[in-house]
């Protein structure tokens, strides 16, 4: 009888283990896994930013290039800059910091694991939101730096700069 009670307790209060597979990746708060997520996502954006760079070069390969219209060209080079800086380089540092730093200093995890995971998901959806602007044909076109007054409503009346501000 005592044994049965022990078994009962063992199944009810099982020692928590990490989930595996897709659910594991989606729900993880582990610093190494989050580091990998950052790295993989940054690499995916790196490919997209690289394609944009190729489009820029294609346009500039000949004088008066007609591959892209002036408007779309401005969108592409703005998105190239925004992508490479905010969606590649910065998250790539986050990838290494997440993966390596806790191991280096001998910590079990980052200080606020759930917040750490939240940061990653905010970054991912921010990037997707930014890119959804292409669905409306109005990606940001004020340059990655977005200087006012060129980035203000007077000079950029479209929704591109809104995507830029909210997405970042």
């Amino acid at each position: 009888m005592a044994t049965a009670a022990m078994e009962q307790r063992a199944t009810t209060f099982r020692r928590p283990t990490a989930k595996t597979g897709l659910v594991g990746w989606l729900t993880t708060v582990d610093h190494k896994k989050i580091g990998i997520l950052y790295g993989v996502t940054a690499f995916a954006f790196f490919i997209v930013g690289g394609i944009e760079a190729l489009l820029i070069r294609l346009q500039l390969a000949t004088p008066n290039g007609q591959v892209l219209s002036a408007d779309v060209y401005n969108q592409i080079f703005t998105m190239h800059g925004v992508t490479m800086i905010f969606l590649v380089i910065m998250p790539l540092t986050a990838a290494f910091m997440n993966y390596v730093m806790p191991i280096q200093i001998g910590a079990r995890d980052m200080a606020f694991p759930r917040m750490n995971a939240f940061s990653y998901w905010v970054f991912l959806f921010g990037g997707i939101f930014l890119y959804s602007s292409f669905l409306f044909g109005q990606a940001p076109l004020g340059g990655w730096f977005g200087y006012a007054p060129n980035s203000t409503f007077t000079y950029n009346p479209g929704v591109g700069m809104d995507f830029y501000a909210i997405g970042l």
């Binding site: 219209s69 002036a70 408007d71 401005n74 004020g142 340059g143 200087y147 007054p149 060129n150 000079y155």
Partner: protein, 365 residues
Amino acid sequence: MRARARAGWRWRALTALLPVTTLVVTACATNTAQTTVEQGALPQDALSPVGRFAIQTDELWNLVLWVAIVIFVFVEALIVVAILRFRERPDDGDRLPKQIHGNPRLEAIWTVIPALILAGVAVPTVRVLFDLADEPEGNNVLSVDVIGHQWWWEYQYPQFEGLETANILHIPTDQTVVLKATSDDVIHSFWVPKLAGKQDTVPGRESLIKLYADEPGEYLGQCAEFCGLSHANMRLRVIAHEPADFQRWAQQQARSIRLDRLSGQAARGRDAFVEGACVGCHSIRGLEGASGTVGPDLTYFSDRGWFAGAIFENTDESLRDWLADPPKMKPMEPGDGRGMPDLNLSDQEIDALVAFLRELKTPDQ
């Protein structure tokens, strides 16, 4: 075993040399390319400056470059030596390198020496910065107000009352020219690489640019701060004249133009200009009713070799194409009040306007 290890080492040394070899080969390639181009023949080459202020900047750059080259070679040599000399060898076994906590004296030295180098570089740098920011005064200084617009440049000469022109800046040689630059809309940047460094023109602010041309000639430049749709089509030219020629040009251009004796096509064009939409944006000094201030002043328009942000040569053909559909020639957003709209002109109207615009020039002597 020993032989294979040595072969591996050789291979690694070759790999390490690869970037260096590439660099040398590329440098040589650039060199040969340059010999085919006449020195300084490239129109926008900041490394072959012509005027005093551009030369000052260029000399500072060369000085800092040589300091940087020496430091770069020294540091890279140290790294290469450290990698080769202290690499792991097969007979090292479990032996660890000597364990030390650091070397305070060495650290102090490599902190102090760079600080001294930086302080040394700062002396000429600050001197040039203050020199370039110093606003010269006196009678021998020509002052020009530069105003950036989407997507063209406006020039006003306060010392020659009424003189206003666009895109092509005329200056005298052997005289300091002070540009007081600002913007009417977004941030632009005035850049004539052979004559001066870049200078942002910011709305609501006045920036100082100093030009000094040693030789008469035409110097190309462009807007160097992304300013919207047609940023790439916002260029400029600076024409430096001998001082006497400049005086003649300026006094002539400051006068109003006489247009009362026009006849035929040109007269029809003048009437179309005044009665049509043109005068809403453009002014012509000497033509009553033409006093718009949105677009470039067109007095003596046909004296200018280039138009529309200095990207189109001022020929009848390009002018006709321009009048037929400006936003098609150069991307603009006339709907938002930026750039010239398509005015749906008929062929006859365009013919008349071109004939009229061709009369906007210095009268033959």
